[in-house]
Chain length 225, copies 2
DNA sequence: CGAGGCATAATTGTCAACAATCTAATCTTA
DNA sequence: TAAGATTAGATTGTTGACAATTATGCCTCG
């Protein structure tokens, strides 16, 4: 595939592969053969390698010299550590959102919340890794908090890694209705421009999820798919 | 340069370039010619490009199609945003450090603090970007907080970007003795295993630095070097 | 003298080939 | 038969070459 206009091949490869990995179309730990990927994307190995290097930096791929790239795998400890980082960063995004998010975005956030509510009414005990409503809520706050540095760190890096963990350590329990109630409090705090409360609620929300995770994962040491 | 043993070229290039950029041997915004870098490292352009892609993902380099790579530049707003992210993440590292850092590391932390103290006695008004004592304190806490995810995000990504900002928007004022006093409180909280207090103190410390930065940068709109 | 256009040079994006390393299948031998 | 060595195949790491694009210098023209 030759060069076309002002675009370049690598960004597209990164985006597509990142999606495939986060959505689970490629399993954690799976080998990523450069020749295979080159064939799939219709390019040579050069742009593929550049893309893999970027994904390596995002923590989605790991390189081993002379052996090649694999989809990253995370230990149970790493999973917990990701949640600790999330707690700190998302607490801040909730605070910023409350303090400076546009009214339009806050309206959208409420819509997302109601979608989550409806979805939960229909199937109240959906497992954690099939709960897009919960996910959309957090994603929107992170994306529109007004701090692009935090948005990028969370949306491009942390979230994808956590999705990887969920695929790997499957059957992680969701928190269903309790999570929704906590979302309501966060939403209200954001709507009332109460940054301090929004941060506190978000941190409690994520800390609670982390604790459920901890007890579950320690009870079931290796639920590796 | 051919392949030698189990190592590969890219990691060394990344490490060296990252250092050069963070330490200011290469100016923000400067062009990074692939041919020049290849000559300098004694390799072909392949490994250079792979390294640049990784640095791009770290926010130290920006690519422009058909034009090439430059050392990243950050706006004043980005500088503030980096401090907001830092506040959230370093607050958490201080908390974790207080709760689970080894005694040996806490001893080292006290030594680093005293070094900072001595350094400040000798030259009390060193500018912000020539204040390694302050820096070492934060770096050690981040590195040894026990959460490798946070350590890596802070040490490999955020800190380097902030150093870039300091080079670009120079003459940022330091906070001298006041910063040291706040460090003492953080240190004491960590030594007493008081995670909650350590986090609070660290957040105030960084928020205070951010506010000084805000008023200074808004007063001197473009102090671009 | 300055603005705009053209040709040339330099640089980037991509590719295909080569050398080094790893993988596996087969063969040998105890 | 099982363990180890050996060899052929496949994959990675690196390189140099070529096409596309951009930057530079020169020239023309107003």
């Amino acid at each position: 595939m030759k060069q076309s206009g002002r675009t370049t091949l690598t960004p597209g490869i990164v985006e597509q592969l990142s999606l495939d990995i986060a959505e689970g179309h490629i399993e954690p730990g799976q080998k990523l053969s450069e020749a295979m990927l080159a064939k799939r994307f219709g390019t040579s190995r050069g742009p593929i390698r550049e893309g893999l290097r970027r994904l390596e930096e995002r923590g989605l791929v790991s390189f081993h010299p002379n052996i090649g790239a694999r989809v990253a795998t995370y230990s149970v400890k790493d999973y917990i550590h990701l949640f600790q980082a999330r707690e700190a960063m998302e607490g801040m995004t909730a605070k910023l959102a409350a303090e400076s998010m546009s009214l339009d975005d806050k309206t959208i956030l409420r819509t997302v919340f109601h979608e989550h509510e409806k979805q939960l009414m229909n199937q109240p005990d959906s497992p954690y890794d099939q709960d897009p409503g919960d996910w959309d809520f957090h994603y929107l706050i992170a994306k529109r908090c007004g701090n692009p540095i935090l948005s990028s760190l969370l949306c491009d890096e942390l979230y994808q890694r956590i999705r990887l963990c969920r695929k790997q350590h499957c059957n992680t329990p969701g928190r269903g209705v309790r999570a929704l109630k906590e979302h309501r409090r966060i939403l209200e705090a954001i709507e009332e421009n109460d940054g301090e409360l929004a941060e506190l609620m978000m941190r409690r929300h994520i800390a609670a999820a982390r604790k459920v995770l901890e007890s579950f994962l320690l009870a079931n040491p290796t639920t590796i798919k």
